[in-house]
């Protein structure tokens, strides 16, 4: 991503999901919590996986830019906590899982 004189510290995360729907759900859930500090900028998007061309936008891309590495680390750590929760909810509670659990009971 383009460098920015005021935000020299940057990090890009790419989080692969099993399908485009789950990637989109994660994007929408994570986007609700805005970055609280003006010293950090974050952009979320879904992109196509470089390895497969026809699977749709299955990768959550997170572009962070911050004024200092310290701010970058704090923001990314916090984001990872939220991401972990989103992944846990998807693993444990996604629609088809609930339906299959109902069927088993």
């Amino acid at each position: 991503m383009a460098t920015d004189d005021n935000f020299p510290c940057s990090l890009t995360l790419q989080v692969p999901f099993p399908d485009a729907r789950l990637a989109s759900v994660a994007l929408q859930a994570l986007r609700v919590d805005k970055e609280l500090s003006g010293l950090v900028k974050r952009e979320l998007s879904t992109v196509a996986s470089p390895s497969s061309e026809d699977a749709g936008q299955t990768v959550l891309q997170v572009d962070y830019k911050a004024t200092t590495n310290r701010m970058l680390r704090v923001a990314v750590n916090s984001f990872m906590d939220s991401l972990a929760l989103v992944l846990e909810v998807q693993e444990e509670m996604d629609v088809d899982l609930i339906e299959s659990e109902k069927a088993n009971n």
Partner: protein, 316 residues
């Protein structure tokens, strides 16, 4: 979304302070009758003498979210359904149409409220800390257990006190009140007690006497401002909500005042008084039914959201 019976279903998540709650409610499409399908809560309890820190609380909520959500979802399909009683709306309905004065007392809020023209209007409130915060912090001073809740343990301890009513500031200012000075004085008295100094009558006093004196003082203040609001709006009904509303001594004192005015007090129990997902689900579904929508991309979280900001389209 509607269920098999055509009822609208909503799920509410509550994650303020140290409580994580998830509730699921159903509204009848014709009568609007609300039914609680499930209401599950998990509380982060910090060790005696300590409060809950935001970082630890957030970690707790993340760790328990899936567990609580699964419990709420499985309970919602498994019968045991109870009609909801004790929401603001039902509080008004049960009293034959008389609009109650609402006392909202919790760890984060202390407000006297009355409904008028589609808003809950704030008549009076704390000028500094909430009454629940005052009680919680005093429990920390005395190093009382936070399990199940510091306020509950103060209430139980206060029942053993009462030999002496220790002198604490009484801080009512018009319709508002203040608790931080009272807490400061109570902390001073606790330090005196620990140092073995006698009370005002020359006799020693106990943690139970301190809890008793603190409760009697702050609850008397709450009763006073509630009564003034009742006189102002011409109501003889009181509805107590918020976690401190579970306190039976507060309910008793408020009940005595309301009885003298020919009315009564309505209080609920911990299921609906303490932070819970059901109140979120119920309010959200009422708003939804009157056309209120927030697209996900416009959703935000805020720590500051006052009672009187909500436009209550679902009431007359």
């Amino acid at each position: 979304m509607p269920d098999a019976k055509g009822r609208r279903i909503a799920l509410g998540c509550e994650g303020s302070a140290n409580k994580l709650g998830i509730g699921i409610i159903a509204h009848d499409p014709v009568t609007g009758e609300p039914t609680v399908l499930s209401n599950v809560r998990d509380t982060f309890v910090s060790p005696p003498g300590t409060g809950f820190l935001p970082k630890d609380t957030a970690r707790h909520h993340r760790a328990y979210f899936v567990r609580v959500a699964k419990k709420a979802l499985s309970a919602s399909g498994a019968g045991g359904r109870k009609p909801l009683r004790g929401s603001h709306r039902d509080g008004a309905g049960d009293n034959g149409g008389v609009e109650p004065v609402v006392l909202y007392v919790s760890g984060g809020n202390t407000q006297v409220i009355a409904y008028a023209e589609q808003r809950y209007r704030i008549f009076g409130e704390t000028l500094d800390i909430a009454v629940g915060n005052c009680l919680d912090r005093f429990a920390r001073t005395l190093e009382i257990s936070n399990d199940p809740a510091p306020g509950y343990n103060i209430e139980q301890l206060a029942k053993q006190g009462g030999r002496v009513l220790l002198d604490l500031p009484y801080a009512v200012k018009g319709m508002d009140c203040s608790f931080s000075g009272i807490l400061g004085r109570a902390d001073d008295l606790a330090a005196q007690m620990k140092a073995g100094e006698p009370g005002p009558d020359g006799e020693p006093f106990t943690p139970a006497d301190l809890c008793f004196s603190l409760q009697e003082t702050v609850f008397a203040m709450l009763v006073e401002i509630t009564e003034r609001a009742m006189a102002h709006v011409g109501s003889n009904q009181v509805l107590i909500v918020g976690g401190v509303g579970c306190n039976e001594r507060l309910q008793e004192m408020m009940g005595a005042m309301a009885a003298e005015r020919g009315g009564s007090v309505y209080a609920t129990d911990e299921r609906f008084c303490i932070d819970n997902g059901i109140m979120i689900a119920h309010a959200g579904l009422l708003a939804y039914e009157t056309g209120f929508r927030t697209p996900l991309e416009e959703s935000t979280c805020t720590q500051r959201f006052r009672t009187d900001e909500v436009f209550v389209k679902w009431r007359d």
